[in-house]
Structure formats: structure tokens, C-alpha cells
């Protein structure tokens, strides 16, 4: 077990491997995890990360680490507001805009002239298949980061076989991701 590497891996994808001097693997892991995360955000917009309205999806997304919580915080505080009618805290409809009131941010209906002028909510709600693919991409990033985290937490138990040595030990070492005597660990 390597608790320091595990904590680093929790803070940022791939950092645990970098701490264990497996820099190249750590960078590649970070590219994979963060690539999936930001690709999901690109497809679905910020609405793809929502701890209030998509709770179950958010559990999987949270496995990416603090970056998910940061995006969710921005989403909840900068893009949502209260609906004075239903008392719901939600994303705005296309004919609404956020206004600051003594009670906090609330949605206010726009007039047709304001809509024509281009006013509206700060973001649009992700809907349908694209929203599902976006959330799936971010959850896959979380699942991938879980594998990366476990790999950083538990360094491979097998020692690397000598270079060129045939047999099952070398294959097991290779299967565990250990160096085969060549390249980086």
C-alpha cells in the first residue's frame, strides 16, 4: 500500500503515479481521465454535472475528484436560481433570466422584446441523448480514475523479472504492469 500516492491520486488524476516516479504513465492517465471529463462537458455543457438534479450520475462523476465538485459548485451557484412560483432551485427556461433579489438569485420572465434582444438564462438545459452521452463520458472518467487510483494505492506486489528471462514470472510481472526490464515502470 502507498497511502501518499493514493491521496495524491485522489487530489488529481495521475498524480499518484507521478509521485511514484511513474511520470509518463501518470501523465497518460491524467490525459485519459481529464480528456473524458472535459469531452463530456464539451458535449453536454455544464448541466452534465449536477449534484442536485442528477444525483445518481453525480456519484459516478465524483470519482474524478475535486474537479467535479468544483464544476458542480460553479453550476449550482452561477447558473441556477430559485423559481419564485414553485420554490424550486433549477436551471432557467429559455424565456427567463437570473435577477438578484434580497432572497438571492431568482428567475424572472422575459418580455418578447427582451428575448428578441438576446436575453436569456446563462445556460441551456442539456436534454435527450446528448445529455446522456455527456454524463456517461464523465462517469466513465470517474470509473477510469478509480482504476488509476487503485493502481496508485496498491503498487504491484511482484518484482520485475530479469531482462529477457522467460517463464510465468515475467508474464505475471507484465500483467501487473511492472516493467519488463525495458522502458519506464
Amino acid at each position: 500500500m502507498d497511502p501518499a500516492a493514493a491521496i495524491a491520486a485522489l487530489v488529481f488524476p495521475g498524480l499518484g503515479h507521478i509521485l511514484r516516479k511513474r511520470t509518463t504513465r501518470g501523465i497518460y492517465a491524467a490525459v485519459g481521465v481529464l480528456g473524458l471529463f472535459f469531452f463530456g462537458l464539451l458535449i453536454g455543457g455544464i448541466d452534465a454535472v449536477d449534484s442536485k438534479e442528477d444525483r445518481i450520475w453525480f456519484i459516478g462523476e465524483a470519482l474524478v475528484g475535486p474537479v467535479t465538485f468544483a464544476v458542480d459548485y460553479v453550476h449550482q451557484t452561477q447558473f441556477k436560481a430559485y423559481d419564485p412560483g414553485s420554490k424550486e432551485f433549477r436551471t432557467g427556461y429559455p424565456d427567463e433570466h437570473r435577477v438578484k433579489t434580497p432572497n438571492g438569485w431568482e428567475w424572472e420572465k422575459l418580455t418578447p422584446a427582451q428575448i428578441d434582444a438576446g436575453m436569456g438564462p446563462p445556460n441551456t438545459k442539456g436534454l435527450g441523448r446528448l445529455n446522456e452521452i455527456a454524463m456517461l463520458s464523465i462517469v466513465l472518467a470517474g470509473m477510469l480514475n478509480l482504476i488509476v487510483f487503485l493502481d496508485a494505492l496498491m503498487p504491484p506486489a511482484l518484482k520485475p523479472a530479469p531482462k529477457g528471462a522467460p517463464g510465468p514470472k515475467r508474464e505475471l510481472a507484465a500483467a501487473a504492469g511492472l516493467p519488463s526490464g525495458e522502458g519506464e515502470q
Partner: protein, 84 residues
């Protein structure tokens, strides 16, 4: 006042509703990049292993899609035809 007519990357949903199936390609590439980073036997073979794994994902999903299409459009109508 907030202007929302224009698409804002990472804020609004990407307008690719008709090409949604192409989104699997970058997702498969990123999965392969991340997974092979820790499961690649020798880092020197990394690019080749990422390519092979990406192709395995895409071909596997393509075969699944073909099988599902066959079941839904051919097999089920044959087994349980809709009475006219």
C-alpha cells in the same frame, strides 16, 4: 443581462444531435489512453496498444449495434409479426 443566442463551449450543450453516434470515437480514444497508461506491459508499445484497444472498442460496439439491428428489424418481426 445575459446573452445566450450563441453557443458557449463547456456551458451549453454541443449542437450535434444528428451525429451523436460519432461521439463514441473520442470517448473510446480517451478510455484507451487512460486504461493503457496503467495496463500497458511496456510503455514503448503504448501508442500501438492504445490504437489496438480503441479499435477493439469501436469494432465491438459496431458488432453489437449490427446484432441489435438484426434482432430488432429482422428476428423479432419474424418471430412475432404485427397482425395487419
Amino acid at each position: 443581462m445575459m446573452q445566450t443566442l450563441a453557443y458557449t463551449p463547456f456551458i451549453d450543450s454541443l449542437p450535434v444531435h444528428n451525429e451523436w453516434y460519432l461521439l463514441i470515437i473520442p470517448i473510446a480514444i480517451f478510455i484507451a489512453i487512460g486504461y493503457k497508461a496503467i495496463r500497458c506491459t511496456d510503455i514503448k508499445n503504448y501508442p500501438r496498444e492504445v490504437f489496438v484497444f480503441t479499435m477493439q472498442i469501436l469494432i465491438g460496439l459496431g458488432l453489437l449495434a449490427a446484432a441489435m439491428t438484426f434482432v430488432i428489424t429482422v428476428l423479432i418481426p419474424m418471430l412475432a409479426p404485427i397482425p395487419s
